[in-house]
Structure formats: C-alpha cells, structure tokens
C-alpha cells in the first residue's frame, strides 16, 4: 500500500478520534465562513443593489436652461424627446417641472406641473397623507405640500381654485405631501394642465433625472446628456453623488473589517480547541517520534487535519452564507441576492488559512521530547 493511503488512513482516524474538540473548531470555522460568504456575496451585489436603492432617494442630475431669468429661463419640452432618444439604460426616471406663480384666493402659491408617474419612481420616500397621484394623465388631482396646505387650509378631498391673470384652474387635493424640500411649499399637478394654465405650452423650467450607477458612471451619463443638449446646463447633484460614493466606500470598509474581525474570532475558537487537542496528542506525537517519525512528517498529518477541517468548514459556511445573504438581501434591500460562485474558493481559502493559523498550538507538538512523554511526564 503506498504511503499516501496510509497518510489518508491516519488522517481519517485522527478526524474521528477527537470528534468533540474538532466539532467545536468546525463550528467556529463554519460560522466564520458563513458570515464571510454572506458578506462577500452581499459585497459583490451591494454596489448594484445600493445604487438601485439610491435611485429612490431623489434626482441626482438636473437639466435646466442657463440662468438668465424670465421667459428665457424656460426650456422647450422637446428636451424630453431628446433625452428619450438617447436610450440610456441608466436613466431610471425623468421628471420635467414647470413652476408658475398662482393665487389661491388672496394667498400666493407656487404651482408645479410634472409627470407623477416619474416623480413617484424617483421619490418613493415622499410621505403622502391621503391619496397619492401616480398617473401622468391625471388632470383632476393635485398633491399639496405640507406647508402650503397649512397656509391654504387644505386637506385631502378638498378643492382648490387657482388663478393666474385671466386663467383659472380647479383641482381636487388627493394628498398632502411632506418632502422636506421646496415641494412642501408647492402645489403639484399635471404638467400639461400647468402649461395651459400659464400659457406656456411646451415649456418646462427644468428636468430632474434619476441616474443609476457609480459616481463615474453617473458622470459619464451627464457628459452624454450635455453633448446632446448643448444649449442647456446638465448638472449632477454633486452632494448626492459624493454622498453615494462615501456610503458605498463606508459599506465596503465595514464589510472588509467585519470579515477580518469574524476571521480573527473564528481563529481564536480554533486556537482554543487546538490547544486542548495539542495536550491530548502529546503522547501520540512522542510515540510517533520514538517510532522514527520526523517532525515535518508528523506535522503534515496535523496540518492536513486542520486543512481538511477548514475546507469542510469553508464549504458548509459558503452554503450557509448564501442563505444568509438571501435573508440580508430580502430584509435590507428588498431584493434576492443570488449565490456568487466566485465567493466559494475565496471562502474556502480564507477558512483553510484560518484553520492553519488556528492550529498553531499543534505545531508546538514538534518540540515534544519522546523520552519524557514515554516516561509519562
């Protein structure tokens, strides 16, 4: 029988001989590997998932006429066709706005015309009391900003009569919206209604865009838009892009340090088990040395045992980590995070490394003096 077979035979018996202690080490390794695998799976998907999430937090690119004031400060609504013609997949939502001054009774108020279907896509965090307006074609309803509603004494279901010069507009309040922004002072309704009301057919004040991707990808979309619309200002909302970049960086850093911490904790678990195991194995090692076993040959057995433990722990941890990543994906991002198989070798390599480092006490067995052990010291 070749030596390798005897090696595997002893290895198999070693694994079976100290099941209790090895099980503790295996649990430590599997737990560590599961968290690593889950976080690595999440990390690989995090950028995509997070940038998707960011896109529900408002516009990050604004297109507007160059500042100059008056009629000249309005853009032709044809800009929307130009944007659509670019077929940029990263543009998640496009919301034009036309702002006009109006009066409700004697109270002045800003009336904003927009596309509600797009607004709701990019501002899912807006808090609406009453009913939301989600159809672009809805010419009957409006959303009233919370501050404006208080000033005008409006509530969901009430009617509001707006006047601008000779033009009148009658709307029903669907809901009161709280955004924390300028919209809190405005009444928002259908774009075409506002264009007719103000006599500004086919004009918009600005267009807000929600663009998905990393900060460099957003800059690239901005560049393409600026090329297509040279007469307009195309500006990324830098604070948002920078904040997104910072958040992504922080999440990546957190994942990295969490993995490092978890691996250290796993290693300490393995270390404790292996230290106890080393005490149990002193007699066996003394005997093996007395029988002519060299230190490297004996240590190879123990390191192979630790390596096998690491590989099994890594594989089991990977599978558990996939389940954990799914849970994280569903509960935190509301999406399914699929298993990334490139994480498998990384998890196994990390776990085997941790198992080998954690088995350091077994290496001290190399110093065992057989004469002392065989005397029973």
């Amino acid at each position: 029988m070749p030596i390798r077979s005897m090696f595997l035979r002893i290895l198999w018996k070693l694994l079976g001989a100290s099941r209790g202690r090895l099980a503790v080490a295996l649990i430590a390794l599997t737990s560590g590997a599961a968290v690593c695998s889950a976080l690595l799976n999440v990390n690989l998907d995090a950028e995509r998932k997070l940038t998707q999430e960011f896109r529900t937090l408002g516009a990050n690119v604004v297109i507007a006429p160059p500042s100059g004031g008056g009629e000249a400060a309005l853009a032709d609504a044809a800009v929307l066709d130009h944007i659509g013609a670019l077929h940029l997949a990263r543009i998640v939502a496009t919301a034009p706005y036309l702002y006009v001054a109006a009066n409700s009774g004697t109270q002045p108020v800003i009336l904003a015309g927009t596309w509600f279907d797009q607004v709701s896509k990019m501002n899912s965090w807006w808090k609406v009391e009453g009913g939301a307006v989600t159809s672009r074609e809805d010419r009957v309803h409006c959303l009233v900003g919370v501050t404006a509603a208080r000033q005008l004494g409006l509530s969901p279901g009430s009617s509001v009569q707006l006047r601008s010069g000779e033009h009148n507009l009658s709307l029903t309040v669907a809901g009161i919206v709280t955004t924390g922004g300028a919209e809190d002072n405005q009444i928002l309704t259908n774009l075409e209604s506002v264009q007719s009301f103000a006599g500004l057919s086919s004009r918009v004040s600005l267009v807000q865009l929600s663009v998905s991707g990393t900060p460099p990808e957003i800059v690239e979309v901005t560049r393409k838009l600026a090329e297509t619309l040279p007469e307009l200002d195309v500006r990324p909302v830098r604070q948002i892009a920078a904040a997104e970049g910072t958040i992504l960086g922080k999440i990546r850093g957190m994942i990295f340090w969490t993995i490092a911490l978890i691996l250290v904790l796993s290693m300490l678990g393995v270390l404790a088990s292996m230290a106890a195991l080393a005490m149990e194995r002193r007699r066996d090692v003394g005997l093996m040395k007395a029988l002519g076993g060299t230190v490297p040959r004996i240590m190879r057995l123990f390191l192979a045992e630790a390596g096998a433990l690491g590989a099994v722990g890594g594989l089991a941890g990977f599978l558990l980590g996939v389940v954990l990543a799914r849970q994280i994906g569903e509960r935190i991002f509301g999406v399914v995070i699929s298993a990334r198989f490139e994480v498998l070798p990384i998890t196994i390599l990390l776990t085997v490394g941790v198992a080998l480092l954690g088995s350091f006490p077994l290496r001290l067995l190399g110093r065992v003096r057989p004469a002392e052990i065989l005397r029973g010291e």
Binding site: M1, P2, I3, S5, M6, F7, R9, I10, K13, L14, G16, A17, R283, D284, L287, M288, K289, A290, L291, G292, G293, T294, R297, R369, P370, A371, L374, R375, G376
Partner: protein, 225 residues
Amino acid sequence: MAPVVQVEQLEKRFGDVRALDRVSFEVEPGEWIAIMGPSGSGKTTLINILGGLDHPTGGRVVVDGLEIGNLGERELTRYRADKIGFVFQQFHLVPYLTALENVMLAQYFHSITDEKEAAEALKRVGLGDRLDHVPAALSGGEQQRVAIARALINQPKLILADEPTGNLDEANEGVVLKLLRELHEAGHTILVVTHSQAIGNLADRRVELEHGRLARIVSPSLAKD
C-alpha cells in the same frame, strides 16, 4: 564478530544528578541482555540513550557501527526508524488506530507500508484474529503483543524492551516471555530492562546497575554452574 553495541565510559547527568556514571559494556549480535538494578539506578536512562531518545553527556555509544552520541535530531530519528524496535511497559499504542494500523505506523515512518506483512507480523504473535481491534478492545497481553509485532516489523538491529511484562498478569507475562525467547532463538539482539529475576535468568547476560554505575555483568548460565 563485531559487537552490535559498544558502550564506553557512558555518562548522563541531569543537572547535578549523575544518572549514568562511566558505564561500559558490549553486546554481541544475537545476544539477550537483561539490564537490572534497583529503581533510580539508570536502567531506563541507559535504554533511552541506546534507543536514540536521549543524548549522553559523555562517553561513546556505538550501535551497528554508528556512533549515536554525535547524531543530530534528524539523524537520531532515522536511526530509531532503521535500527531500533521499542517495547514499552505501558504498551504505547495509538488508541484510535487498529492493531494492524499500529504496526503499519512503524512501517509508515520507516519507509513504505505493507498491510500483508503487518498482518503476518500480528499472526506470528498470535493476533491474527485481532487485526481490526483498537487497543481498548484488547487485553494488556494482547496490546503488548501488538507492540512486539510493531517493534519487529522493520527488522531492527536491536530490540529495546523497558519492563515489557511490568503491566501484565502471570499468564500474559508467560506469553510475552515465550515470544522474547522465540525472537532470541531467531537471532534477534534484545536488551530488556527488568526487575524480574525470572527474565534476568533467561537472558544470556545480566548488566546490573547501581547508582548509575555498572555493578557487575553476570552470565546466568555460568553462575548456575
């Protein structure tokens, strides 16, 4: 014929304690030597040095032409694998390996394993039906017989046995002594540390130690005459 063991002015100190003090003797090939003496007389220290488990402090020890006092750890390990077969009072079998695997372990560290040869060695000591038993499932006598099979498996130049019957009942002591006698008759060189006068009388010569010194060398057959 050249002696297989030459011990010249051998000294071993543990701090201030002189465990062996200028001990000299020789062992011819095929001889059965009993090393005897009261507890603390240096018997086990002597056998540990002969087995390459310990280093002498002074003097010379030559086994099969190899001066072992000059060997480093690596060479001593090779020396133990190639030339020595150990039998211990406590048996010292690996508890999670079967009888067969315990014998194969010595083959593994020596060169290559041969399951058939290991099984044959166990059959020779009367354990052909115990190959797959772990030590815990064997009696003391059976465990010692596994240890003897393990000691013989690599055809060592020297069999070193430290109180091989010390942990056995009378029946098993008889079985082990019979095996040692057979090994002796087959031409093996055996050094046995023992307190037992009976074993001492079976040996070709008795090397008697007192306080680390060689007290006398006795040939039991001549003493009887």
